[in-house]
């Protein structure tokens, strides 16, 4: 009988939806006798316990904090206290930006096994095996954690179907451990106004990445998108360089192409953060000079070739 602990996330009192994906991931290695507990830290943790009472959850541990502000040191202290008291075999949490701040530090405090951005896990006998990607998503790596009683994993988002169903978990209130907090929330900065650019609403997106290589090359793709009736999107470097408006950026720190049915990715390698915004799209066409680019692994159609040559020829058809 083993214990599994899932660390929930919340922002401003709203449950981080990927928490339920981390529960689903943890469930894949949960066996009959194991118990799965989810810990939630917030100003009103009881209010979030209901949303966490999904299939497979045996216990919800509530930690009442002074505010909903993200405090990595508090999360680390809670994880360390729970891990020491319960000796879980697995601690899982979503690979969210908040987890980037607390998960590696919590792991070294515990001296546990650790892997981040895990996209599959399984048990082989008593061994836990976690799979993640490497070399710009071109390979997969199976990791093991020899000699570790506890392993902490952050789970790639948008891979596991969020846990659903319902359960009647035991509710356990835990006192917030005393800890020094050295970060203070001062405010939020919302993304700049989209200025009429609508990536989320668009059903056809032509998107360009670093392969466009120069600001002077961008205009022709704006024109091509216009002729084809597509919205022009881009990957992050194109927006960071100021070549296109940030509102055109597809991906984790940009837009989700929520209503898109056809996405043509030109000169985009297919990083996990870019995929976040588009990999769900039914019809993805990738144009890339590198036949091993990971974008091809999620595309329906692929052209191994130069985006400028293809673009020039395409113009003759629209």
């Amino acid at each position: 009988m083993a214990e599994i602990l899932v660390v929930a996330g919340q922002r401003d009192g709203v449950l981080h939806p990927a928490t339920l994906e981390a529960v689903a991931a943890a469930r894949t290695v949960k066996t009959g006798g194991d118990s799965l507990a989810v810990v939630i830290i917030s100003a009103d943790p009881d209010g979030l316990a209901g949303a966490l009472s999904v299939e497979g959850v045996d216990e919800v541990i509530t930690v009442k904090a002074g505010s909903n502000d993200f405090q990595p040191e508090l999360v680390e202290a809670v994880v360390v206290a729970l891990a020491q008291a319960r000796e879980p075999s697995l601690i899982a949490t979503a690979h969210s930006v908040d987890a980037w701040s607390f998960a590696p530090s919590a792991a070294v405090m515990l001296g546990s096994g650790f892997a981040s951005d895990v996209l599959a896990l399984k048990s082989e006998g008593s061994d836990l095996i976690a799979t993640r990607a490497g070399y710009a998503e071109k390979v997969l790596v199976d990791l093991e954690f020899p000699g570790r009683e506890t392993t902490l994993l952050t789970i790639r988002t948008n891979v596991f179907e969020p846990a659903g169903g319902s359960s009647m978990p035991k509710l356990t209130a835990m006192d917030a451990p005393a800890c020094e907090t050295s970060l203070n929330h001062l405010g939020w900065k919302e993304p700049a106004d989209a200025g009429g650019i609508d990536i989320p609403g668009s059903d056809f997106i032509l998107s360009i990445g670093r392969g466009v290589s120069d600001e002077g090359n961008v205009e022709q793709f704006l024109e091509l998108a216009d002729e084809m009736g597509a919205t022009l999107g881009c990957s992050r470097p194109v927006a960071d360089n100021g070549w296109l408006a940030k509102a055109r950026q597809v991906g984790q720190s940009g837009q989700l192409a929520a209503n898109c049915r056809l996405y043509i990715a030109m000169g985009i390698s297919g990083s996990v953060q870019h995929q976040w915004g588009m990999k769900h799209i039914e019809n993805i066409v990738a144009v890339n000079t590198d036949p091993e680019a990971s974008i091809f692994s999620i595309a329906r159609y692929g052209i191994v070739g130069d985006m400028f040559e293809i673009a020039e020829e395409l113009e003759n058809h629209f």
Partner: protein, 261 residues
């Protein structure tokens, strides 16, 4: 006042590659090496702080890597950092982020900097872990994915923006010294000048091994071990062959079919 920037020499795979015989990594012949993209931004941020303070700060670059990694270190030095530290030991070949963080923690103790920057992640493996694991070992304040920083030498607190999902940013103050992982786009990294590149060859680099830092292979044990590395199964992508004109014509056809035109 000193800022320590930890950088990584990353491996970029060639268009074609083969696995090593033991199946636990790619064969070395199929790599190109480069300074991690994110680290350009971390180095730049440190240099900007130094320059804004009228040169009151020293920027020290540290990397954990073999002789090859000297290139990445020199690239950062060429931009204007004062000096470097490179740690290597043959027992580090299978190092993971936690091992690297344990080594860096000793370098931090030795250098006693006022701020530590890392890149938010590396472009090869994207662990996004080394910096924050380092902070955990040091017990220092820390924040990941910092997209804006307001800090000058002597400040007790820095104001940062943490870039969250969807482009939302959280504005926070953080007590210094701190470990911050620096996000793309926080600044416009400079290119090294020819003079900078020439000077970088002469800049002092401390070369240390584990014992110089009071460490051993056992004390820097990794938190994970690669069992197997392999190429993923390719998706169902239908590759459009032919001349450029034929490929473009087929793509146009696909667009028109799907758009019902």
């Amino acid at each position: 006042m000193k800022i320590l920037v930890a950088v990584k020499q990353v491996s970029v795979l060639d268009d074609e590659f083969e696995m090593r015989d033991d199946g636990r990594d790619v064969d070395e012949d199929f790599f190109e090496k480069d300074l991690n993209e994110f680290d350009h931004f971390a180095v730049e941020e440190a240099l900007l702080i130094k320059e804004a303070s009228g040169g009151e700060a020293e920027v020290v670059i540290v990397t954990v890597g073999d002789d090859d990694a000297d290139d990445a270190l020199r690239t950062a030095l060429a931009k204007g950092a004062e000096r470097g530290v490179r740690v290597w030991d043959d027992s580090l070949v299978d190092a993971d982020s936690v091992t690297i963080a344990k080594v860096l923690a000793k370098v931090v103790e030795r250098e006693d900097p006022d701020m530590v920057f890392t890149g938010a992640q590396s472009v090869d493996f994207g662990h996004a872990a080394t910096g924050m694991a380092l902070a955990g070992l040091l017990g220092w304040p820390h924040a990941a994915v910092v997209s804006k920083l307001d800090f000058k030498p002597g400040d007790e607190n820095a104001t940062i923006h943490r870039e969250l999902e969807g482009g939302l940013e959280e504005i926070m103050s953080v007590t210094c010294p701190a470990v911050l992982s620096i996000q793309l786009g926080i600044n416009q990294p400079r290119y090294a000048s020819l003079r900078g590149i020439r000077q970088a060859r002469q800049k002092p680099v401390d070369e240390l091994d584990l014992s110089d830092l009071g460490l051993s292979a056992e004390t820097v044990k990794a938190a994970s071990r690669v069992r197997r590395m392999y190429a993923p199964e390719r998706g169902q992508a239908e590759i459009i062959e032919g001349s450029v004109a034929e490929q473009a014509a087929r793509l146009a056809e696909i667009v028109k079919e799907l758009r019902g035109a």
